[in-house]
């Protein structure tokens, strides 16, 4: 075991692991700036593929759809997920069953959830489109927001709620002046996580978007384009999606120092 203790060897192993994780992503980002557009040769730095992206109507409408889905589903999931977290925390003495069924959508494989939602919407004869994608995203985002907010609530000092009441505040005033401000970092962290998950979610959107071109989201668009090979535009698009996700996740984690449960 002596060789394992060798610090130089340890560094090499560490470097190899990180290379495995990040070289493909780095290559993708680099290629998105490759003027020639071919993966085989570097012909110079250029942002022209980003310009191409902006001129591509299909991509832009898909990006708009994704933004709508992410914003609306995040808003709904944040509102209901936070309320749910508070409710579950107050009732937590009634056992852990409630917790388990709330967090199930985080653990159930996406493909199962996707099929289940598709069957459900078909059964109800709902015309599918962007609205069904939004509803489907609320399903798993609710669980994620709830879990982040609940993690913070575990250390929440409920006596400040009583203190506020004691000092003359009504319940709504206490909610807005005490509970909400104290919980806000966790709520925003949950919302950012939900937004990130929604932006790059593919399987569930693919199953529940219906047939029309109007409800294609960005990951679906990328999937459609990639059948004709990886174009430099896709590299540029992937780089932007990644940048958005990284920023949102970093913010989310910074706001929620306790770490993300279920991750």
């Amino acid at each position: 075991m002596a060789s394992l203790a060798n610090p130089r060897l340890m560094l090499v192993i560490l470097a190899a692991v990180f290379a495995f994780l990040y070289v493909p992503i780095s290559v993708l980002v680099a290629l998105s700036f490759n003027e020639g557009g071919l993966p085989t040769a570097w012909t110079g730095f250029s942002t022209k593929w980003y310009g191409e992206l902006l001129r591509n109507g299909d991509i832009m409408s898909a990006a708009f759809n994704t933004l709508v889905v992410a914003l609306v589903s995040t808003a709904l999931a944040t509102l209901f997920g936070s309320l749910l977290a508070v409710g579950v925390e107050i009732r937590r003495r009634k056992g852990r069953f409630l917790e388990t069924i709330i967090f199930a959508p985080m653990i159930i494989p996406d493909i199962v959830l996707a099929i289940a939602l598709l069957s459900f919407f078909s059964l109800l004869n709902v015309t599918m489109g962007l609205h069904t994608v939004i509803l489907s995203h609320v399903v798993f985002n609710l669980a994620f927001v709830c879990s982040v907010v609940r993690a913070r609530l575990k250390t929440f000092d409920w006596s400040i709620v009583e203190a506020s009441t004691d000092l003359g505040a009504s319940m709504p005033v206490t909610l807005f002046r005490i509970v909400l401000p104290v919980m806000l970092p966790a709520i925003i962290a949950g919302a950012l996580l939900a937004f990130t998950l929604s932006v790059d979610e593919f399987i569930i959107a693919f199953f529940t978007a219906g047939a029309g071109r109007d409800s294609i989201t960005l990951p679906m668009q990328i999937f459609a384009m990639i059948r004709f090979g990886v174009t430099p535009e896709i590299n540029a698009l992937a780089t932007i999606v990644m940048a958005v996700s990284v920023v949102a996740l970093t913010l989310s984690q910074r706001l929620n120092r306790g770490g993300l449960p279920g991750q």
């Binding site: 400040i160 203190a163 004691d166 000092l167």
Partner: protein
């Protein structure tokens, strides 16, 4: 007699089959510093939370200035509670914490500013007005919690173990500080504590609670000198208990000798009793061959102003504590292993059913 500020009448609180507060009646006068003293589970905190409005009553009524407030929600009672954990709002500055109660009363901006400034002076934290609670020490946080509750000028301030989170030295300072504040602003204080010393030092009157019932309510001195039950006698200060039996109008100790004791009413011939006597009421002298109570010094403990002797006596299997003043200790000059004889006056004893 004037109307009491607060009257508890047959107050009951049941949690399932547990009677947390059991038929509790009590009057508290304006400007009193009153202590509810009891071990954990005695119902003292439940009682306090009922006064604040956070627990509903199972039965009875609570009258404040003669009006029943038991149905009034906590945010509409002229009563404020200082929480054991202080419960300061972590996202607000000290000044904002203190102003909160006045904002709820819809006071004008200028009035809030003036009164918060005054309160910061009183609790001596003006220089820290802009700090957040987590930047304060325990003692400072305690003063903020106090100021936040006092600024509403409540008819009644409730304090839940207010000094529990402080270290011993600070606790002593804050006891005096609380008492000074209470005199200065003239608000009735009800404090809940399990610390008998705290109750004795601060309170004008003390109520001893056990299993949700009121055992005794009196001034600290009265409780110390005239405890009405074995539990009160044991809870406050140090007390020696000698097992004995009542026979032919006399109190007979475990060794068969009659001992000096005040005969209680309501106990009859043949009853097993305990004779309670304070350590400072016992007299000891070097053994000179008398037939009375005697013992041997097991250990001595020096406490500055006084000397405590632990004696093994012929009266009980438990050691007995004797407290001598420095002067007495010098006169008797007793040390470990010495044989002593023991005496006391009947009027200094209390006899309780065993």
């Amino acid at each position: 007699m004037t109307q009491p500020l607060l009257s508890l009448r047959n107050v009951e609180k049941h949690f399932g089959t547990v009677r947390a507060v059991d038929g509790f009646s009590l009057d508290i006068q304006e400007n009193e510093f009153f202590a509810l003293l009891g071990a954990s589970g005695s119902g003292k905190t439940t009682l306090l939370r009922m006064l604040a409005g956070f627990e509903t009553l199972t039965g009875g009524e609570i009258l404040l200035d003669g009006k029943d407030i038991s149905q009034v929600p906590p945010n509409r009672r002229p009563v404020n509670l200082m929480f054991q954990s202080y419960a300061l709002f972590p996202h607000m500055s000290i000044a904002q914490n203190i102003a909160y109660g006045l904002e709820m009363e819809k006071c004008s901006k200028s009035e809030i500013k003036r009164r918060v400034g005054e309160m910061l002076e009183i609790i001596q934290l003006s220089h820290l007005a802009g700090r957040k609670p987590d930047q304060l020490s325990g003692g400072q946080r305690q003063r903020v919690a106090l100021g936040r509750a006092l600024i509403k000028r409540p008819r009644l301030l409730l304090l839940d173990e207010p000094l529990g989170a402080l270290d011993k030295k600070l606790r002593g300072d804050m006891q005096l500080e609380l008492k000074r504040l209470q005199h200065e602003i003239g608000i009735t204080f009800i404090i809940v504590t399990h610390d008998q010393e705290e109750a004795l030092v601060m309170a004008d009157r003390v109520a001893i609670l056990k299993d949700g019932k009121l055992l005794q309510c009196a001034t600290p001195r009265d409780i110390y000198e005239h405890p009405n039950s074995r539990y009160s006698a044991d809870f406050i200060g140090v007390m020696n208990f000698l097992p004995a039996t009542l026979r032919q109008g006399q109190v007979i100790a475990a060794n068969g000798q009659p001992v000096a004791a005040q005969l209680p009413e309501g106990l009859s011939e043949g009853n097993d009793v305990v004779v309670a006597i304070r350590p400072e009421r016992l007299q000891v002298a070097a053994y000179r061959g008398g037939g009375g109570p005697r013992g041997r010094v097991l250990a001595t403990a020096y406490h500055g102003l006084d000397l405590q002797l632990h004696l093994q006596t012929n009266l009980s299997s438990e050691p007995i504590t004797v407290r001598l003043t420095a002067q007495e200790a010098e006169q008797t000059a007793l040390s470990e292993g010495d044989e002593v004889e023991l005496g006391w006056n009947a009027k200094d004893t209390r006899v309780f059913a065993a």
